[in-house]
C-alpha cells in the first residue's frame, strides 16, 4: 500500500550533491560574469530587518482576497503557546528562533544537524499565496514566503525505503508555556507520505506578507501543505525524520476517529462532530456568507493523482 505513495523518484534520479554543487559553481561563475541575474543565485537568509528582499513571484498564486496581517498573526492554533486562538500572539515572544537548528534523521543518505542558515542558503525564496483551510471550518488566504520542501528534502538523499517523512516541532517548557499541559502528546509531530512531501505545492515556509515568519505562525521554519487541513503543517520544525512506516501524528494519537493521517480537505467527509461542507472565509466580516469547501481545498487538479485508488472517506 505504501508503494502507492512513492514519489516516483529513484535514488539514482536524485541529483548527487557533488553535481548539485558543481552546478552552483557554474552558476556562481555565470553570475560573476554577469550572464545570469543575481536574483537567481539562491542564497536565502533570514533578513536582519525582518523583510525579505527580492522575492520571486510564483505564477500560480490565488488572487482571492488575502486575510489581513493582523488576522493571520493573532488567530492561531499553536497549542505549545496555549489553546486559545489569541494565546500564541500573546505568549510566543518567548520563543528563541536564533540560533536554530534542524536534525535530519532516519532513512536518508545525509542525516545530520543543520543550522537554519545552512538550510536556507541554497534556495531561492518566493511568495506564494495559498488558501489555508483549518479543520475547524474557517479559512484564510495567506501570502507565504518559502521554497519547495522537495528541494530541501532532496539534499538529504532520501533512501528508496523512505516512504514517509515525519516532522517534529520544538517542545521546550521554558520557551513554550503550553507544553506544561498534556493536551497533546509533545513534541507535536506530523507526517506526510514522501510523495506528498515532495509535491511541488508543499512549501518549506519562513515568512508571510514578505516578512520573517512571526513566532506565533511557526517561526523560524514551518511546513505548509495547502490541500490539507492546517494542523498537518508542523510549525517551528526541529527534526525531519525519514521512515518506511506511516509515522505517528499528534492529533491522530489523541483522537484517531476525528483526525486521520491524511487529513486532506474534503467537504464529503465530515468531522465526526461537525460538517466540513462549508467554511468561514475570514476577513469578510460578520455577515459575509460562508463558502463551499472544495475537495483538496481547490488544489485537486494538482494533487488528486497522489490518491488514485484510495478511498478518501476511509482514509480521512
Amino acid at each position: 500500500m505504501s508503494s502507492r505513495f512513492d514519489a516516483g523518484i529513484k535514488p539514482s534520479e536524485i541529483t548527487p550533491e557533488s553535481v548539485f554543487m558543481s552546478r552552483r559553481t557554474v552558476l556562481a561563475a555565470a553570475v560573476a560574469c554577469g550572464l545570469v541575474p543575481s536574483a537567481m543565485t539562491a542564497a536565502a537568509t533570514i533578513p536582519a530587518d525582518g523583510a525579505f528582499p527580492d522575492l520571486k513571484t510564483w505564477p500560480d498564486s490565488t488572487t482571492e482576497k488575502q486575510a489581513s496581517f493582523k488576522d493571520i498573526t493573532t488567530y492561531n492554533n499553536f497549542y505549545e503557546f496555549g489553546t486559545d486562538k489569541g494565546d500564541p500572539a500573546v505568549n510566543a515572544h518567548t520563543l528563541k528562533t536564533s540560533p536554530w537548528s534542524v536534525e535530519v534523521t532516519g532513512q536518508c543518505g545525509k542525516p545530520g544537524t543543520l543550522t537554519l542558515e545552512d538550510i536556507l542558503k541554497p534556495h531561492a525564496l518566493e511568495e506564494r499565496v495559498y488558501r489555508h483551510r483549518c479543520v475547524e471550518a474557517w479559512s484564510m488566504v495567506i501570502p507565504w514566503v518559502g521554497f519547495p520542501l522537495a528541494d530541501l528534502l532532496k539534499r538529504f538523499e532520501p533512501a528508496s525505503g523512505a516512504k514517509y517523512v515525519q516532522f517534529f516541532t520544538l517542545a521546550d517548557k521554558q520557551q513554550m508555556p503550553g507544553v506544561r499541559y498534556p493536551v497533546l502528546q509533545w513534541p507535536y509531530r506530523e507526517g506526510l507520505t514522501i510523495a506528498e512531501a515532495m509535491h511541488p505545492l508543499t512549501l518549506a515556509t519562513v515568512g508571510l506578507y514578505g516578512k520573517v515568519l512571526p513566532n506565533q505562525n511557526g517561526a523560524p521554519l514551518r511546513i505548509v501543505i495547502p490541500w490539507k487541513y492546517g494542523f498537518k503543517g508542523a510549525k517551528s520544525v526541529v527534526r525531519i525524520h525519514f521512515t518506511d512506516r506511516q509515522p505517528q501524528t499528534s492529533w491522530n494519537m489523541s483522537a484517531p476517529s476525528e483526525y486521520g493521517f491524511y487529513s486532506n480537505v474534503n467537504p464529503e467527509r465530515p468531522h465526526p462532530r461537525w460538517s466540513q461542507a462549508k467554511e468561514r472565509r475570514l476577513g469578510g466580516g460578520l455577515l459575509s456568507g460562508t463558502i463551499a469547501t472544495k475537495i483538496f481545498n481547490g488544489y485537486g487538479d494538482q494533487v488528486a493523482q497522489l490518491y488514485q485508488g484510495l478511498d478518501l472517506i476511509q482514509n480521512y
Binding site: A67, K70, D71, T74, Y75, Y79, T83, K85, G86, E136, W138, Y181, V183, L184, S254, A255, P270, R273, W274, S275, A277, R280, L282, G283, G285, L286, L287, G289, T290
Partner: protein, 220 residues
C-alpha cells in the same frame, strides 16, 4: 417592592444586558472595538458562554439564599434565567443564520447526526416552557406543579455543560470547571433535601422523646 430591591434589580438587569451591548458595539466596530478575526465564531461563543454563565448563576440563587437567609434574592432568579434564555436564543440564531445560513436540511442533519448539537438543541427547547411559565400568573396557577416543572432546569444545565464539553477540540479544562460547579450546585441541593428530611424525621422523634418530659414538667 422596596427601594433597595429595585436598585439591586436594576443593577442586575444592566449587568445582564452589558455583554449584549458590548457585542453590538464590537459588531459595529464602535469605539475601536471589533469581533476579531473570526466574527461569526466570536458571536456564537460569546452568546453561548454568557448564556451558560447566567444559567449557572440562576442555579446559584437558591443555595446562596438558603446559606445567607436573604430570601428576597429569589426575585433575581427569574431575571437571570430569562437572560440566560435570551443569550442562548441569540446563540442558536447565530448558528441558524450565520453558520448553516437557514439551510433547514442541514439543521435536521446536524440535530440528528451531531450529538453535541442534539444535546444543545434539546436543552434550548426544554427552556421554552420554563421561559413561558416564568410569569407570576403561571406560577400562581400552576402552584406545586410549577415547582415540579421548573426542576427541568437541572436537566437543562446538565445538557448545556455536556454540549459545551462535546464541542471543545481537546482541552476540556474549561468545561470541566463548569461540570465541577454544576456538581457543587447539585450537592448543595441534595445536602439541603437530606437535611430537611432529617429535620422532619428528627422533629417527629423529638416530639416523641419530649412527650413524657413535657407531661412531667407541666405543672398544674
Amino acid at each position: 417592592m422596596t427601594r433597595s430591591l429595585l436598585v439591586i434589580k436594576t443593577l442586575v438587569f444592566c449587568a445582564c444586558l452589558a455583554p449584549f451591548v458590548l457585542l453590538v458595539l464590537r459588531a459595529f466596530e464602535i469605539g475601536g472595538l471589533d469581533l476579531g478575526a473570526d466574527p461569526k465564531a466570536e458571536v456564537l461563543k460569546t452568546c453561548g458562554m454568557t448564556g451558560l454563565n447566567l444559567l449557572m448563576l440562576t442555579l446559584c440563587v437558591t443555595p446562596i439564599r438558603r446559606a445567607t437567609g436573604i430570601n428576597r434574592l429569589v426575585t433575581l432568579r427569574r431575571m437571570l434565567g430569562l437572560f440566560s434564555f435570551f443569550y442562548l436564543c441569540v446563540h442558536f440564531l447565530t448558528y441558524i443564520g450565520l453558520y448553516i445560513e437557514f439551510d433547514w436540511s442541514m439543521l435536521l442533519e446536524d440535530i440528528g447526526k451531531r450529538p453535541y448539537i442534539t444535546v444543545g438543541f434539546t436543552a434550548l427547547m426544554l427552556m421554552v416552557p420554563l421561559a413561558v411559565t416564568s410569569t407570576n400568573g403561571f406560577q400562581r396557577r400552576l402552584g406545586r406543579r410549577w415547582v415540579k416543572l421548573h426542576r427541568l432546569v437541572y436537566v437543562i444545565a446538565t445538557l448545556a455543560v455536556v454540549h459545551y464539553w462535546w464541542q471543545v477540540k481537546l482541552d476540556v479544562s474549561d468545561p470541566l470547571l463548569y461540570a465541577v460547579l454544576l456538581a457543587g450546585l447539585f450537592s448543595a441541593r441534595i445536602a439541603h433535601w437530606r437535611a430537611t428530611a432529617r429535620k422532619r424525621g428528627a422533629s417527629v422523634d423529638a416530639k416523641a422523646a419530649m412527650a413524657p418530659t413535657y407531661q412531667r414538667v407541666e405543672p398544674p
